[in-house]
Symmetry: C2
Amino acid sequence: MANSPSGESVISRVVRLVEAFDDGHRTMSVAALSRRSGLPVTTTYRLVDELLAEGLLEREANADVRIGTKLWELASRSSRMMGLREAALPFMEDVQSVVQHSTTLGILDSDEVLYIERIGSRESMVDITKVAGRLPVHGTSSGLVLLAHSPAAYQELFLSRPLQKFTDSTLTESSELRRHLAQIRQQGFAVMPGIIVPESSGIAVPVHGPSNAVIAALSVVVPRNEEDASSRVPVLMAAARGISRSLGWRGELKGALRQSNGRI
Amino acid sequence: MANSPSGESVISRVVRLVEAFDDGHRTMSVAALSRRSGLPVTTTYRLVDELLAEGLLEREANADVRIGTKLWELASRSSRMMGLREAALPFMEDVQSVVQHSTTLGILDSDEVLYIERIGSRESMVDITKVAGRLPVHGTSSGLVLLAHSPAAYQELFLSRPLQKFTDSTLTESSELRRHLAQIRQQGFAVMPGIIVPESSGIAVPVHGPSNAVIAALSVVVPRNEEDASSRVPVLMAAARGISRSLGWRGELKGALRQSNGRI
């Protein structure tokens, strides 16, 4: 949290300001923003004024600032996430209405799972995912599905790193993970009980893009020991095919071939 | 589309670059980005490099650029829209499952309706709303609900401007609109057939925030002459109360008082 090093670009300082906001800090004073971003107070005041003028920040009644509507709008209307989540949402509703637990859509981004959509069950108490939230790849069924379908070189790089053990069930040994990834590719889904918190299990399947590459994972988070994979996997698979198809996927034959060759 | 005037801040030039992307232009070459943003080519190249370095833009395989995951993530995780849409989504699913037509959540932003969530019906062909899309206030049932509950001074300012007539049914006369706004406040909903496109009708109800102010409008878009308001308005009202309650609203008595006093 040092002062901004001289020569840091305006853009990178703005990113630091915006990153200071999160779920627990949705509004704050400019002084707090300076503290949390590590930028000098005068720099912070000047940048906040510019960001307010552009609508990227907004001022609350008490003079605190928050992320502006404009930033959300700019980021939303044209990103590739929006196309994906729009295609996925109707199918996610179908899954949600049948499974009655949180349904999520995640992508692999910067070595983590980034959840780009989530339909929450009002009853579900076992789900730590949230929209625009991140979770570790090896701690989630979605992450393992995405990793299983990543290029072999990326998988090996990932498996070469030390991995945190979140629960007794978290897989951290590369040989064990490699075996699981092969199994996920072969069977077409992942069921992972309690790998990040003991009380919940994830079930995930791959979503294909037009080029047949796996671009996202569709998952449900259910209470542990209530996985009921035999009834839920087919629901997820049907929905994932629907999403893939509406994204322009026509890779059923290729998909079958890939599955039979799918070992690293 | 002139060159960037000297003295324009980096932030405002970045906004111009990002605004060059939209639904029809999700990826483009840096040269096209320069053209669409009106920024000089050299400036565009320099800013694009910085934005790529921060992950705010991403490069496609063919060297075109697109809005980056990071921008969406920064904007999403902390904005007030996310709290609202997270509260609303389960109730919107309930509406969608009963009404079987597109369900939207809109806010008033910069004199327009900004749709922050939409659950689309796969069958629905009559809905021009989209997430992060904007529509004119007087062309949508949501806009009229939001206007009806805006401060009187804002309403008068809005009604003093010339308003575009989109269809034969668009209300553009201030006296007529004022009458409709009063009616919307009194009855607690708006049913507007064909005011922006002839073939669709909007039905909208207000959503209250913790301070009892109307902060959003919940609506369904249905084929014209199939409004069926008597069955759909109660579904929308129940859902809007649910959303309001989960946002901390406890204003039932105040709501009733407001309704009986609700004239400008």
